[in-house]
């Protein structure tokens, strides 16, 4: 039987196959594979003759059909036939075709719905530009955000307090006047004459300067050193008192 299909545009190889099966009045559950494969191939050849670009998927299905056909031609072995689990090589294809057919039906249903809905009209949105000029300012408040903000503040404050505490601790740990005096005395034993800045030991923090100066005053009071300053804000020269140095050395 020479089968002529009109050149509809098919939506894919399954679409074509379903068409062929239905046209041949075959049951989808019992596809006569030789017949349907022949028709399918004829159709594809026809398409190619007409120079219609066929998607690769049409060829893949053709190959699948031929594969199934050859499997069915193979003599079945007795053992397999007795098995309950014997699988018809067509079953996978049938399953796919049934699923596809279902969605084809859905497509038809949607088409109906679209048609029905096309009979209903809606109106466009009114020109709302008169309302959209000045937006309403709306204060967005959220309790969680509020708590978070406050917590952040509390944490920050706690941190500052901690830093402050550390700061005082460090201060207490800084050199005492007694230690400073001892240190200065040691320097004065090796160098009998020096400048105030030599006593700072490179640390020019306010604390160290004051500490050094106060210690120096103490040493003056103890008559351990003599101090000279030639001009206001000028260099302070310090000269160690011999006796005292010797005492220090002896100690």
């Amino acid at each position: 039987m020479v089968y002529k299909v009109k050149l509809d545009v098919f939506e894919g190889p399954f679409d074509l196959l379903v068409y062929l099966i239905e046209n041949a009045e075959m049951s989808i559950y019992d596809i006569q594979l030789s017949e349907i494969t022949k028709q399918y191939m004829e159709y594809i050849e026809d398409m190619q003759r007409r120079d219609i670009v066929l998607a690769g998927e049409f060829m893949i299905l053709a190959a699948t059909l031929i594969e199934i056909k050859s499997k069915m031609l193979l003599p079945r072995n007795k053992f397999e036939e007795d098995e309950e689990g014997f699988e018809d090589p067509r079953s996978e294809l049938v399953e796919k075709l049934l699923e596809y057919k279902q969605y084809k039906n859905v497509a038809a249903y949607l088409q109906e719905q679209e048609e029905i809905n096309n009979r209903i009209y809606v109106k466009p949105k009114e020109d709302l530009s008169i309302y959209t000029k000045e937006p309403d300012v709306f204060l967005n408040l959220d309790l969680i955000q509020f708590i978070k903000a406050f917590d952040m503040f509390l944490r920050r404050r706690k941190k500052i307090e901690e830093v402050k505490n550390n700061y005082t601790r460090i201060k207490r740990q800084e050199m005492s006047m007694e230690t400073k005096i001892e240190q200065m005395k040691r320097i004065l034993t090796s160098r009998r004459k020096l400048r105030f800045r030599d006593l700072l030991g490179g640390v020019k923090s306010r604390y160290n300067v004051i500490l050094t100066f106060v210690s120096l005053l103490e040493l003056i009071k103890l008559k351990s050193v003599k101090v000279e300053q030639k001009t206001n804000f000028g260099e302070i020269s310090i000269i160690a008192n011999e006796i005292d140095t010797q005492q220090a050395e002896g100690a």
């Binding site: 998927e57 969605y103 088409q111 719905q113 679209e114 029905i116 809905n117 009209y121 809606v122 109106k123």
Partner: protein, 190 residues
């Protein structure tokens, strides 16, 4: 606090100016009322227009409500004017849309394996028409994009929500019924 009557009347005005489906939540927020109450009011209005046989009706789309014309009046509307109709969807677009509607969220790969053919272009077209959209990514290899239908899809096909789609098992019968009814009508007209 506004009375129910006032609120329902306001909902009608709001739907009218809005044109597009009006979100129940938006409407409820304007009166600071419960979503459920607002929904109830919309349903009551819908029922009123229907029972009075009005030429305008209210339809529900995805928790939104919209004024529209009574379907049976389309003939008279067309006599008055020819409203611009959108181009109908192609058969392939319908098939892809059908698969996405029932299997969403679904990947392109799944769609293609059901149809047995590539469908990049069709998907692109449906996205452009705003009938489908990306709804996430699959956890599978390559994390492919998952597609789902949009609100416009519901609107275009006159569905309240996606659950209103008939059971896929029944679809065959429904389509046959429609075809039979159509034939019936034609023979009556002759």
């Amino acid at each position: 606090m506004s009375s129910k009557k006032t609120i329902k009347s306001a909902f009608e005005s709001m739907m009218f100016v809005w044109g597009e489906p009006l979100d129940v939540k938006v409407a409820a927020d304007i009166f600071n009322i419960d979503w459920k109450d607002a929904y109830e009011y919309f349903k009551e209005l819908q029922e009123e227009y229907e029972s009075e046989g009005r030429g305008i009706r209210i339809r529900e789309i995805d928790k939104s409500f919209q004024f529209c014309t009574y379907i049976e009046n389309d003939e008279f509307i067309q006599r008055l004017c020819t409203p611009i109709k959108e181009k109908r969807l192609t058969q392939s677009a319908m098939e892809v849309l059908a698969i996405i509607a029932y299997r969403q969220p679904v990947t392109k790969g799944e769609i293609e394996s059901i149809r047995g053919i590539k469908c990049d272009r069709v998907i692109e077209g449906l996205i452009k028409k705003n009938l489908i959209e990306e709804v996430g990514r699959s956890t599978g290899i390559g994390r492919p994009i998952l597609y789902g239908t949009t609100k416009l899809f519901l609107e275009k096909f006159g569905l309240k929500n996606i659950k209103e789609l008939p059971d896929i098992e029944d679809i065959g019968n429904i389509v046959e019924d429609i075809e039979e009814t159509d034939t019936g009508q034609i023979s009556l007209e002759i």
